[in-house]
Amino acid sequence: MSRLPITKTPKPYVGGAFIRSESGRTFPIKDEAGNFFANIPQCTRKDLRNAVEAAAKAGPGWAKRTAYNRGQILYRLGEMLEARRKEMIDVHVTLGGPKALVTKAVDTAVDRLIYYAGWADKYEQLLGNVNPVAAPYFNFTVTEPMGVVGLIAPDRPPLLPLISLIAPAIVSGNTVVALASESVPYPAILFGEMLATSDLPGGVVNILTGFRKELVPTFATHTHLRAISAAGVSAEERRALRLGAAESVKRVRFADSETNWLAESSQNLDAIRDTLEFKTTWHPIGA
């Protein structure tokens, strides 16, 4: 007689903890064969609010880490995903992903984390500069993280785009609240477990599961989110996000709908720049 396995209760990772929705609601997802797989927390706008608060709390500390330290932590996150690579691939397959493709996607996700980890102490050298103003002043432009950034991942594929949005946002010191795939949320939940063991401070990455219809409007209007970086959003969602953004002059970036997330071209310095502000400081040169 075979042993009955213990199934894991899926809980998204928010504020450094694994949470259920404050609403107590869940929604079931099925595996490829159509069998019940798990109940996923149906996060609400209040969960989003809590996640933003957690992200805001974590922000200053994360931004003050040295670039070297942030780079190492992102690298560590890559290590965590690499270590549980097989589990991540298997889960994708169980939920209907073609094995060869998801293997490539998970491997690329690891590589992507390593790619952005390496940028941590370099992007500033390319994006900032000293400006030769025509007066006796030392003038320099540096970048700063925007603050709390809302990320909306496409429904599919469920992991690689999510990581491709998270990594360039946090490498510079932003903290994020990400909305996972609605139909295949489990990989994002599993990724949350890796976040929790990666030395990343709680609250830097917060992942919500739930219904886009319910959550996108709140992402749009929450004024403490200083930017939205979204991929795979419909025209209607874009409009809603832009309309909401207008109320607090929020920055909104939509990934190109043609993006091939597996390609190296989908990772670049500009993705980091998209969630940065430029700050210019003047100081007289005198004695």
């Binding site: 002043y137 409009r239 953004a245 207008a246 310095l269 500009d270 430029f278 003047w282 100081h283």
Partner: protein, 499 residues
């Protein structure tokens, strides 16, 4: 050796010493007499030609210094805006978009030079039209506008260095709407990077200050700029809305109030247009007890009374360290007494005319609210001209963070003074606003400057100085002060697409 404070206690009993800023040596009027070469009527500038608006309608532009009419300005309707966009698109497809960068550069250099040739004439026109002191339009606005063209000219053939690791391309036609506080300079900020990058432009100046824009059209024509590369449509809000929402515009750039910026963002929500927004501000100018106080006072004055306070990055909230609060206020009062308020065309005028009656009314209402909310008002007893729109330089002390005058942008010569005790309190108060355009910090301690600069949520931080600008120096805001940068390498990024 006794300290200053100890000296005070041993002071002989006589009336408190005061300085007398009287009329012992008054200055005679010194009007700038260069001919602004104004035309009685200005048409639209579309496709390289001055054309009458299709509606045949014109509106008056007046001199805010004396309320006299200066010229008639064409009122562009939707069909005029259509014509401007069509011309811009044609130019992008047939001439400008195909021109090598080094050739575009030469046009921009020419524009810079022609503007320098006619600098004094432009300065006078700017002052007559907008009310700013001639010394500012002469020494700041016009030379800085020319500098922006000169700086960006040099970028036009070096664009591969703008975005590391990426190839970039122009966007196409961009629509731009600019405000009335720095009419010519904002125009230069907008069109120089757009043209350097290879875009074509439809621009609308503010309705109260269209003249230098249309005078610049003469320069564009004299420079031989191909028709349609730059088009100017004049008018008020409706014209602006048509410029911002036009289907041909690949990108829109707006400088103005946060309120209007939000309206534009909403109206473009369904589109894929790129945007940059340079909006309002309520900057904190922070003075620590170890600051070089006299230069700080000068910076405070320059921060709030430059251009009558019609400056989005004006240092309108003064945060003073408590140990020096009394001293700074006393020095400010003495300094403000020697500001010369009056006819902007007089070369000795420090504070000119408020740009419009509407703006004067807004300022008056905000100041009334400050008085009503209990802040203490100080204004110098200067004489104001009987005609025209003027407002005395105004200082409010005893202001708290909840007062309207501490939270809302006044856009006039009105300073609100608050105090703080610690570094953290200063940062907290400075950042406690939806705006984030600029900030000032005054201290002799280097590490504190860098700490403050890091913590202040603002796109520009002036340390031991204020209100400094340069074409090489990116300018733009955090939070509700907008997004995108103007000037520097970063400013160019907002006028291209990555390919």
């Amino acid at each position: 050796m006794p300290t200053l404070a100890e000296k005070k206690t041993t002071r002989p009993s006589r009336p408190a010493p005061e300085l007398i800023f009287g009329d012992l040596w008054e200055f005679d009027p010194a009007p700038e007499t260069a001919d602004p070469k104004l035309k009685p009527r200005y048409d639209l500038f579309i496709d390289g030609k001055f054309v009458a608006p299709k509606s045949g309608k014109y509106f008056d532009s007046i001199n805010p210094a004396n309320e006299q009419k200066l010229a008639e300005i064409a009122l562009a309707g939707r069909d005029d805006v259509d014509a401007a966009y069509a011309a811009a698109q044609r130019a992008f497809e047939t001439t400008w978009g195909k021109l090598p960068g080094r050739e575009r550069a030469k046009y921009l250099y020419r524009i810079a030079r022609l503007l320098q040739d006619r600098a004094r004439e432009f300065a006078v026109a700017e002052t007559l039209d907008g009310g700013k002191p001639i010394k500012e339009s002469r020494d700041f606005d016009v030379p800085m506008a020319a500098a922006h063209f000169f700086y960006h000219a040099g970028w036009a053939d070096k664009l591969e260095y703008v975005a590391p690791g990426r190839r970039i391309a122009p966007l196409g036609v961009v629509g731009q709407v600019i405000p009335w506080n720095f009419p010519l300079l904002m125009l230069a900020w907008k069109i120089a990077p757009a043209l350097a990058m290879g875009n074509c432009v439809v621009l609308k100046p503010a309705e109260t200050t269209s003249i230098t824009c249309l005078k610049l059209a003469e320069i564009l024509r004299d420079a031989g700029l191909p028709p349609g590369v730059v088009n100017f449509v004049t008018g008020a809000g409706e014209t602006g809305a048509a410029v911002m929402s036009h289907p041909i515009a690949a990108k829109v750039a707006f400088t103005g109030s946060t309120e209007v910026g939000k309206i534009i963002m909403r109206s473009l929500a369904g589109t894929e247009k790129k945007m940059t927004m340079e909006l309002g501000g309520k900057a904190a100018n922070i003075v620590f007890d170890d600051a070089p106080i006299d230069q700080a006072v000068e910076g405070i004055i320059n921060g709030i009374f430059f251009n009558q306070g019609h400056v989005c990055c004006a240092g309108s909230r003064l945060l003073v360290h408590e140990p020096v609060a009394e001293q700074v206020l006393a020095k400010l009062k003495n300094r403000i007494k020697v500001l010369r308020v009056g006819d902007p065309i007089d070369k000795n005028t420090d504070v000119g005319a408020i740009n419009s009656r509407e703006q004067l009314n807004k300022i008056t209402a905000m100041v009334a609210s400050g008085v009503k909310e209990g802040a203490e008002l100080f204004q110098p007893a200067c004489k104001l001209p009987s005609k025209g729109f003027y407002f005395r330089p105004t200082i409010f002390s005893g202001v708290s963070m909840s007062h309207r005058i501490a939270r809302e942008e006044i856009f006039g010569p009105v300073l609100s003074i608050l105090t703080f005790r610690t570094v953290d309190e200063a940062i907290e108060k400075a950042n406690n606003t939806a705006y984030g355009l600029s900030a000032g910090v005054w201290t002799d301690k280097g590490s504190r400057i860098l700490k403050m600069s890091t913590e202040l949520k603002a796109g520009v931080v002036w340390a031991n100085t204020y209100n400094k600008f340069d074409p090489t120096s990116p300018f733009g805001g955090y939070k509700e002060s907008g997004f995108g940068r103007e000037g520097g390498r970063q400013g160019l990024l907002d006028y291209c697409k990555l390919v």
